[in-house]
């Protein structure tokens, strides 16, 4: 097991507020602030509502503030939320507490205060170091501000910083992306998430593409960008531990995100937040006002719930496992499903191994670099009938 993968449950808090809605983003976020006053008490109420068995029986070891723009929270707001979490759940001493921060939204004093409250990992939504890209994405910050915010975070003592970048932006050339990677490496963050832009239905980008106002990067370019990212970061010493995630050593793997990928339980709070507790998944309503009303009325804020049957859980295991460098843990698979992965999926695995798309190592079935690149093609083959 990699150093930062613990098997202990995690906590997620969704802060939906943003200064502006980015044209590509399909996470639940809002720019109107009028629900915000009621939001913090609602959130705290929801957190408290989980203060019961079986949840409190476990020690949690991550808290993740996602959004939205959690860096817009005031020190006092963050402090109240953290306090509610600490009151409700047993938390490990060395918990990883991540906060997503947008460059330009967080002054040095606030950084320091957040650090003092216990935040020990920052995930910065840089997206690009190119002002033309940033403008196209609808980001409010500039490349200069990004660099400055990063420097300020370091000065505030953050020694575990993750930077988000997006590639395959409309109009982005291979060279521009290489320049981005170069700047990135100069900053030497502990962790990098490099996402391939997705035109999600419901986003402005999606609409603009449909309307012909912008053109998606051609497939061949996407492929080059992806390979370039992989090669550049790996050459610089980063480990690609998931299709879009890189870390400068195992201890910098995102402990929280890793839970999503191996069926470690997690609880999510706030509108649209997702939770998994074996063998159930659920998520909250995607409306801050609706969420506030329900939470205040003491009603459930959940709007989606599903029970994972064996077959679903098995498919998830494959789907999530194959996206990670570790692959599917065969021992764990056999223990959980009382059946051998190799026996269930023999034709698929044999074919993939034979063709160099996958291999079995250290009791894991994992995709090779060539396989990872087409994992969305490979995964749907793992049906048994």
């Amino acid at each position: 097991m990699a150093k930062n993968i613990t098997g202990r449950p995690g906590l997620y808090v969704h802060i939906p507020y943003c200064d502006t809605k980015c044209a590509y983003c399909d996470f639940y976020s809002i720019t109107r602030q009028d629900s915000r006053a009621a939001f913090i008490p609602a959130l705290i109420r929801e957190i408290h509502s989980y203060g019961r068995e079986p949840y409190t029986r476990n020690t949690f070891d991550t808290i993740y503030f996602g959004g939205g723009t959690p860096s817009l929270l005031s020190v006092e707001e963050l402090s109240r939320i953290l306090e509610a979490l600490r009151q409700t759940f047993p938390l490990a001493e060395d918990s990883e507490i991540t906060l997503e921060a947008n460059p330009g939204t967080i002054r040095p004093e606030k950084l320091k205060a957040f650090k003092e409250l216990g935040v020990n990992r920052l995930s910065m939504g840089i997206q690009s170091f190119d002002d033309a890209d940033l403008k196209a994405l609808g980001r409010l910050h500039t490349a200069r501000q990004a660099l400055q915010s990063f420097a300020e975070a370091r000065r505030a003592g953050f020694d575990n910083i993750s930077l988000d970048l997006i590639f395959a932006l409309p109009g982005q050339t291979l060279k521009r992306w290489r320049d981005n990677l170069k700047t990135l490496l100069e900053l030497a963050p502990e962790h990098v998430s490099a996402y391939n832009l997705i035109y999600e239905p419901g986003t402005l980008f999606h609409r603009w593409r449909e309307e012909g106002k912008l053109k998606a990067a051609p497939g061949t370019l996407e492929e080059k960008l992806y390979v370039t990212t992989m090669e550049t970061l790996e050459n610089a010493g980063y480990i690609m531990y998931e299709v879009s995630n890189y870390a400068r050593g195992e201890r910098y793997y995102s402990r929280h995100n890793s839970k999503y990928w191996d069926h470690t339980p997690y609880l999510g709070f706030g509108p649209s937040a997702h939770s998994y507790w074996p063998e159930e998944r659920w998520s909250n309503i995607r409306s801050a006002r609706g969420y506030n009303q329900k939470a205040h009325a003491g009603e459930p804020t959940v709007s989606f719930q599903e029970q994972l049957g064996t077959e679903t859980r098995m498919f998830e295991t494959v789907m999530l496992g194959l996206r990670t460098r570790r692959g599917v843990d065969l021992k764990r698979f056999a223990k959980h499903f009382k059946n051998d992965f190799g026996a269930i999926f023999r034709p698929q695995t044999e074919k993939l191994i034979r063709e160099g798309f996958a291999r079995i190592e250290d009791n894991h079935f994992r995709l090779t670099a060539k396989g990872l690149m087409i994992c969305d093609e490979i995964i749907p083959h793992f049906h048994h009938d």
């Binding site: 061949t220 998994y276 989606f304 679903t312 498919f315 690149m373 087409i374 969305d376 749907p380 793992f382």
Partner: protein
């Protein structure tokens, strides 16, 4: 009932010209149904028929009519199938009648199908009562249509009845004319029993039900009867007449129309066109006109999931209980596994069967490209009939191949003659002749290879003539053609289900088009896919689907696993439905590539 007061007749009309509505009106006017029943068109009882607006299987209905002369008449309206695939059944229905209503839409005029059925009726010596329907339509061109009818049957204009089945106009006149114009049957009730089966259906409770017209003699309940083509003997367990439902009677006499239920389980035992006689006192000969119906078009039907094979067999068995024209034998395809080679009367018949398998039996099926039956003469003098291109022997042992031709009649406004000539060239037709029905309608006759007609012919004809032309055809004869087998190879492996027999002159173009089209239908996958077209060992075209190099997107963040999973599960379902050929996954559409290919010119 006195034979003098019986009238047996049918309605000849083109689809949509109002046959069913007119039939409903006649039923109403004769009080056969008190008022319009919930079901719109009584005579079409199958859902599929209703949806397509055509009558596929004929039935009959008996009405009692008190005429202006105060006499009571029995009318038997015998319905006829309305599609060219079923022309033999039409001919048998016509043979059961003494007269026919020729119904022509006042706005549309005469169509090819009407003409061919009309000629069949005239051949059968039927009295024709011409009716122009829908005269109340604003677009009606009554005078024009009258002229067409006069031209066609040589009647007097005054004999043509204007009618509107919608408003009821002319219905009474039609009923009266049936009594005066259509002769009564002239059978000998003391003669030996001869009853014509003009239709038969399968009923899950009663087995095969034959619809019969008694020509001579009397059929009594309990008689031991014999089917003269099969020589099988059965007891007439139940006989009766057909009103809205079956009404049992003790006997049916010469001239009457009714039904017959024996112990026969399958419509194959009660063949359309066969003659029923008494086993102990048989007629010396059968009524004329019986023929074995032979399927003209063949296609493989395969279950998408192999476990459905038995279900498919059951479904085909059940369908064939009611459809003696459907034939099927098991076959194996390297590409598609176990399935059946099925024979149909024509394309419509094929589509109906496919649709019923999917709808009524809930089966997911792949049907392969339809083909005709080729007559292959071997160098050793033997002759083979080939209904599956994959069975075509090596070119080396073939001395010649013949293919079936049809005689096609196309009726069209003159401005489309040029387009039709173009279509006929594309489709390798032999021009026979052309005549004008009136200044607005040309009647063209061609000989077409049937194989050309089963590929997108109707669609093309429609688009070339903006839907104004109508088509009718009949089998003509086998003729020698320069034909070759074109194989499709996927990564070097022949895909037997995609083999076709094509004319030599068209083979290169065909191969290029087909491979190009397949390239569009086969998605990129983990490996490069080579699509080749070959004649014998010679590759004549190639296309490549490049290997997929990248297919990975982020998005398993914020913990929303369900959404990503559902997306991939959907794709998983898609993959399950694909057929695995070697290591290549072929989507179902690819197996019908040939059908969807035309017009694909880039």
């Amino acid at each position: 009932m006195n034979q003098e007061n019986i009238r047996n007749f049918c309605i000849i009309a083109h689809i949509d010209h109002g046959k069913s509505t007119l039939a409903d009106r006649l039923l109403e006017e004769t009080h056969t149904i008190a008022q319009r029943d919930l079901k719109e068109q009584i005579l079409d009882s199958m859902d599929l028929e209703r949806e397509r607006g055509i009558t596929i299987k004929s039935h009959a209905i008996r009405m009692t009519y008190e005429a202006d002369d105060k006499k009571k008449y029995i009318f038997n309206l015998i319905d006829t199938p309305g599609h060219v695939d079923f022309s033999y059944e039409v001919s048998r229905s016509l043979a059961a009648c003494e007269g026919a209503l020729l119904v022509v839409d006042a706005a549309q005029g005469i169509e090819a199908q009407t003409i061919s059925n009309l000629f069949l009726a005239i051949e059968n010596d039927l009295a024709i009562i011409p009716v122009i329907n829908k005269v109340d339509l604003p677009s009606a061109e009554v005078d024009n249509v009258k002229r067409q009818i006069v031209e066609l049957i040589g009647c007097d204009e005054s004999e043509i009845l204007p009618a509107s089945a919608k408003t009821g106009l002319g219905i009474h006149d039609i009923l009266e004319r049936i009594t005066t114009e259509i002769p009564p049957p002239r059978g000998d009730r003391n003669g030996k029993l001869q009853a014509l089966i003009f239709d038969s259906i399968f009923d899950s409770y009663r087995g095969a039900i034959a619809f019969v017209r008694i020509f001579n003699g009397v059929l009594r309940k309990g008689d031991l009867i014999k089917f003269m083509s099969t020589l099988q003997e059965y007891s007439a367990d139940e006989i009766g007449i057909l009103r809205l439902s079956r009404e049992p009677v003790k006997e049916l006499q010469a001239g009457e129309v009714g039904y017959l239920i024996t112990g026969a389980k399958n419509v194959r035992d009660t063949k359309v066109g066969d003659t029923v006689t008494l086993a102990r006192d048989p007629a010396p000969e059968a009524l004329a006109g019986y023929k074995e119906v032979k399927p003209m078009v063949f296609s493989g039907i395969y279950p998408i999931v192999s476990e459905d094979f038995e279900n498919l067999r059951d479904a085909l068995e059940k369908l064939s209980l009611n459809d003696s024209a459907l034939v099927y034998v098991p076959e194996t395809s390297k590409a598609l596994g176990f399935g059946f080679r099925c024979g149909f009367l024509g394309l419509l018949h094929m589509e109906i069967v496919q649709e019923r398998l999917e709808r009524e039996y809930n089966l997911s099926i792949i049907n392969t490209v339809p083909n005709v039956v080729y007559r292959v003469h071997l160098t050793n003098g033997k002759v083979m009939e080939i209904d599956n291109p994959a069975d075509l022997p090596n070119a080396g042992v073939i001395s010649k191949i013949e293919e079936p031709y049809i005689r096609a009649q196309i009726i069209t406004p003159p401005e489309y003659i040029g387009n039709i000539m173009r279509l006929s060239t594309e489709k390798r037709a032999i021009y026979v002749n052309q005549a004008y029905l009136d200044t607005n309608r040309a009647d063209m006759t061609f000989l077409f290879p049937l194989a050309e007609v089963i590929f997108d012919f109707y669609d093309k004809l429609k688009s070339y003539t903006r839907g104004y032309a109508s088509l009718d055809y009949d089998f003509d004869e086998y003729r020698e053609s320069k034909l070759v087998k074109l194989d499709i190879l996927i990564n070097g492996e022949p895909l037997d289900a995609l083999s076709t027999i094509v004319h030599n002159d068209k083979s290169y173009e065909w191969g290029r088009k087909l491979t190009r089209h397949l390239k569009k239908l086969i998605p990129q996958q983990m490996f490069e896919v080579a699509i080749q077209a070959a004649i014998g060992s010679k590759i004549i075209a190639r296309q490549t689907v490049k290997a997929l190099r990248k297919n990975v997107l982020a998005k398993c963040y914020g913990g929303d696993i369900s959404r990503k999973r559902k997306l991939l599960e959907k794709q998983k379902e898609g993959k399950k439905r694909m057929k695995q050929i070697g290591r290549v996954e072929i989507p179902q559409e690819a197996f019908l590539a040939v059908l969807s290919m035309d017009g694909d010119n880039d």
